[in-house]
């Protein structure tokens, strides 16, 4: 992540986030409740854009590809970088369907 900033309306939620997440490693994040951990994770695959009032600037680079580049297909990057919520949500289909969805 390079200079990642997230605004909800005029509220500046994430300020200049610069993080390198190593390939193939388990990376953990711990901070107090409400500090923006989920917002940061949702910013990675642009899931945060389902909220209309949000504005994101900066770069999220995965294998050299900027997920916030204007020509990027959002559904394709989400296939590449999925996100599972802390609260499990099962889709109304078979277990196989749930495992292979997307």
């Amino acid at each position: 992540m390079r200079n990642l900033n997230v605004h909800f309306d005029s509220y500046h939620v994430l300020k200049n986030i610069n993080v390198d997440i190593p390939d193939g490693a388990i990376t953990a994040m711990h901070r107090p409740f409400g500090c923006g951990k989920t917002t940061l994770l949702k910013s990675l695959n642009r899931l945060i854009e389902s909220n209309r009032e949000v504005k994101v600037t900066g770069e999220v680079l995965v294998d050299g590809e900027n997920f916030y580049a204007p020509d990027v297909e959002v559904t394709q990057i989400r296939k590449k970088l999925g996100l599972l919520s802390q609260r499990p949500t099962t889709l109304p289909m078979s277990i196989y369907g749930n495992m292979t969805f997307g």
């Binding site: 695959n45 899931l47 389902s50 559904t75 394709q76 989400r78 296939k79 590449k80 999925g82 996100l83 599972l84 919520s85 609260r87 949500t89 889709l91 109304p92 289909m93 969805f101 997307g102």
Partner: protein, 187 residues
């Protein structure tokens, strides 16, 4: 993506306003459509009128259903790379399918029992229609016209039509109720 009644779209506005409207208003609307497009009283004109009549009923029922679907389901689908249409057809519709059938049955029940909306548009005949542009008798209209006949045999046909209509509406209402119960268990 928002599929909600408060989205300010023309369709949701129409459904909220016209859901409680009297059937005769839809009949008048159908009549205006007929005169505008040069249609005669026919099965087609009746179908158009009834479609407009049940559209707000079904739309409102579906709107309420969609609002019961948790937001997390949409988020989970999108986070795994689903497109809007994949979400709608593979997830949302799967989730609310019994409710969709129930809403359709409710609309059907409203349409089949309605007399005022088709009075100006379908015409009346004692025969089965030979085509979509020919007049047709709906069951409520058959009851309405035949009951006022001085001939006892014709009045008996009206009573028979009333029994058939009641049975059909009972079956439809009971099916909708069963589906509603199943939908409640499903969620």
């Amino acid at each position: 993506m928002r599929i909600r009644s408060h989205d300010g779209s023309a369709l949701s506005g129409y459904s909220w306003i016209s859901c409680g409207d009297s059937s005769i208003v839809f009949g008048a609307f159908g009549f205006i459509v007929m005169t505008t497009f040069g249609l005669k009283v026919s099965l087609l004109a009746g179908m158009i009128t009834l479609a407009v009549l049940i559209l707000p009923v079904i739309t409102r029922a579906l709107d309420e259903l969609v609002q019961t679907v948790p937001h997390e389901l949409m988020e989970a689908s999108f986070s795994l790379g689903a497109t809007k249409w994949e979400y709608v057809f593979k997830v949302l519709l799967q989730k609310i399918f019994p409710g969709v059938v129930m809403a359709t049955l409710l609309g059907f029940g409203r349409a089949i029992g309605d007399a005022a909306s088709v009075m100006f548009t379908t015409g009346f005949t004692d025969n089965l229609p030979a085509g979509i542009t020919k007049p047709v008798a709906t069951l409520p209209l058959a009851i309405f016209f035949q009951l006022s006949s001085p001939i006892p045999e014709v009045r008996e046909r009206a009573y028979a039509a009333a029994v058939i209509l009641t049975i059909i509406i009972l079956i439809v209402s009971y099916s909708a109720r069963l589906l509603n119960r199943r939908f409640a268990q499903h969620n």
